[in-house]
Amino acid sequence: MIENRSLGSKAFDTFNSIFLITLTLLCLLPFWYTLMIAFSEKEAVQAGIVSFYPIGFNLYSFDAILSDFDFFKAFWVSVQRVVLGAAFTMLVLSLAAYPLSRTSKQFPGRNLLMWAFIFCLLFNGGLIPWYITMRNYDLLDSVWGLVLAGGIPIFNMILITNFIKNLPEELEEAAKIDGAGPWRVLFQVLLPLLKPVLATVLLFTMVGHWNEFFQGMVLSTQAENYPLQTYIQQLVASANQANIGNLTLEELERISKLNNESLNAAKIFVAMIPVLLIYPFLQRYFVKGITLGSVKG
């Protein structure tokens, strides 16, 4: 394509690049800043003089985490939750999506079941009935409560269902002619083809379980059962205490002295690491997953 690039057009390109790069930095710098706080000495952080490089570089905060039993306890709860939760979700979802992708002719009653799921996706009893139910099931203070409460992301189930619908029908027919039953069709024909969408759902489920703090807070009566995000939330909440009440400057400073900002920043950063580790994989799959599932019903 031959293009006539005017001066105005070039000026726009320059402005555009600079603007977008600035925007990108706005998305990255907060995390960099947190890391710098974690590396800086306490006094510099309190004085508010740390910016984009550490002042009084040290690893005390990270060292302190290593001997922080509560932190590791919470970390371990989160790891269990992610592993068990992802396994449970993937198993249930991959079994359920296939029958729901059948037409109502192939599977009478399919529509009724599908509407039951969709109704539950759009309507729920609210926080308190849910909490009372969980308590009645005796799922408080248990990692199973956290696994089952998140349970089945119905939206993701619909995503997989739509994906199966978009696969060519002939694949399944060919397998059936060769004598394959529904279980064989599911495990040997469909699941290998579903890899991209299952990978997307798996990654989202894992990130979802890792990031969830509210159920961890409500369903735990003991702090020792908190998952990591709930543990961090308690730290953040105590930092937010500094904002309550019209405090004088001296009071603000006193509270920030009690609050070890460097240590908190280090903990926040460590809590981010698992997400950062799977981020490259997330990147690869989620664009595909999002655009695929939303195409057709």
């Binding site: 309507f123 089945i152 309550i244």
Partner: protein, 311 residues
């Protein structure tokens, strides 16, 4: 083969011919359905406590029935009215910002010619979306604190420091802005996919007719993604009572309740922390019902106007 068999049996026995796979399908659905019943449908029965004076000791069956008393109280209580107002204002701000900012960002990114730069930018801006509000709030409380870098910058520019978490006038804007910041990269994906789908010959034809970049944007790009924008706008209306619990809960404090308290945080405080189960359930129920109607209408409109079907 099986079709022949079917044809011979047309008539009387037609209804009896069943797909032999159906029982296997049902078995496959058992785990999902058990979960659905235990964790979604059973809690729905708990809605009755919105109409009772629920006493946990007495249980659902023996608690006193009070009709619509809690709903009446909710409308009289100024706290719940404030929460409703804040919810709607914050949600509308977020809906607008989350539609427009990603659109502008996607259009700008689409104009960028250096592909490596596009890739680098995309990789970076998606990141905040995947981090929890707990983490992001922890970081924001630090950055926007009284002696954090933002206030140092304001000081440097000769301005007064801003108390982002104590000033009720600033709080809603802060919530909306930080939500847009978290999601704009991710929300742009759907626009970028739509932009990538535009037929290149349209642009070539426009250039032939002497169109510059602005005219191409106005006459080719925007009309081509019009239906995507409309779809996202319609579907987002269902979220008008959803102001984002995780974010508000982690950033607010009593000083900013007047502008920052939303329905979900109010339900949590009044219902669970205050142990007023019935009242909390009533407020939550009203929200659930209204949201359900809004979301369903959104899907209905999307189907009617744009032929879009999610299910």
């Amino acid at each position: 083969m099986s079709t022949n068999l079917k044809n011979e049996n047309v008539g009387l026995k037609r209804r009896r011919i069943k797909n032999p796979d159906v029982k296997h399908y049902l078995i496959m659905l058992v785990p999902a359905f058990i979960w659905l019943i235990l964790f979604q449908i059973v809690p729905m029965f708990g809605i009755v406590i919105a109409f009772q004076d629920f006493n946990p000791g007495a249980g659902f069956l023996r608690s006193e029935f009070v009709g619509l008393e809690h709903f009446q109280y909710m409308f009289e209580l100024s706290d719940s009215r404030v929460a409703l107002k804040n919810t709607v204002i914050i949600a509308i701000g977020k809906i607008t910002g989350n539609l427009l900012v990603p659109l502008v960002f996607a259009l700008m990114l689409n104009e960028l010619r250096q592909k490596y730069l596009v890739k680098m930018i995309q990789t970076s801006v998606y990141l905040p979306y995947f981090l929890s509000w707990v983490i992001l709030s922890g970081i924001m409380l630090q950055i926007f604190s009284f002696n954090g870098p933002i206030n140092k910058l304001l000081e440097f520019m000769g301005l007064e420091p801003l108390l982002f978490f104590q000033n009720a006038d600033l709080f809603r804007g802060f919530i909306i802005g930080s939500d847009v910041w978290k999601g704009f990269g991710f929300n742009a994906i759907i626009y970028l996919a739509a932009l990538a789908g535009i037929d290149n010959t349209l642009y070539e034809a426009a250039v032939m007719d002497g169109a510059g970049r602005w005219r191409k944007l106005w006459h080719v790009t925007l009309p081509s993604i019009r239906s995507t924008i409309a779809l996202l706008a319609i579907l987002s209306l269902g979220g008008i009572l959803d102001a984002g619990f995780d974010q508000v809960y982690n950033l607010y404090n009593p000083l900013v309740y007047s502008t920052g308290d939303i329905i979900d945080t109010f339900v949590y405080r009044a219902g669970l922390q205050g142990l007023d189960f019935s009242f909390g359930t009533a407020v939550g129920l009203l929200k659930s019902v209204v949201s359900f109607i809004l979301i369903t209408s959104g899907y209905w409109l999307a189907k009617k106007l744009l032929g879009y079907r999610i299910f």
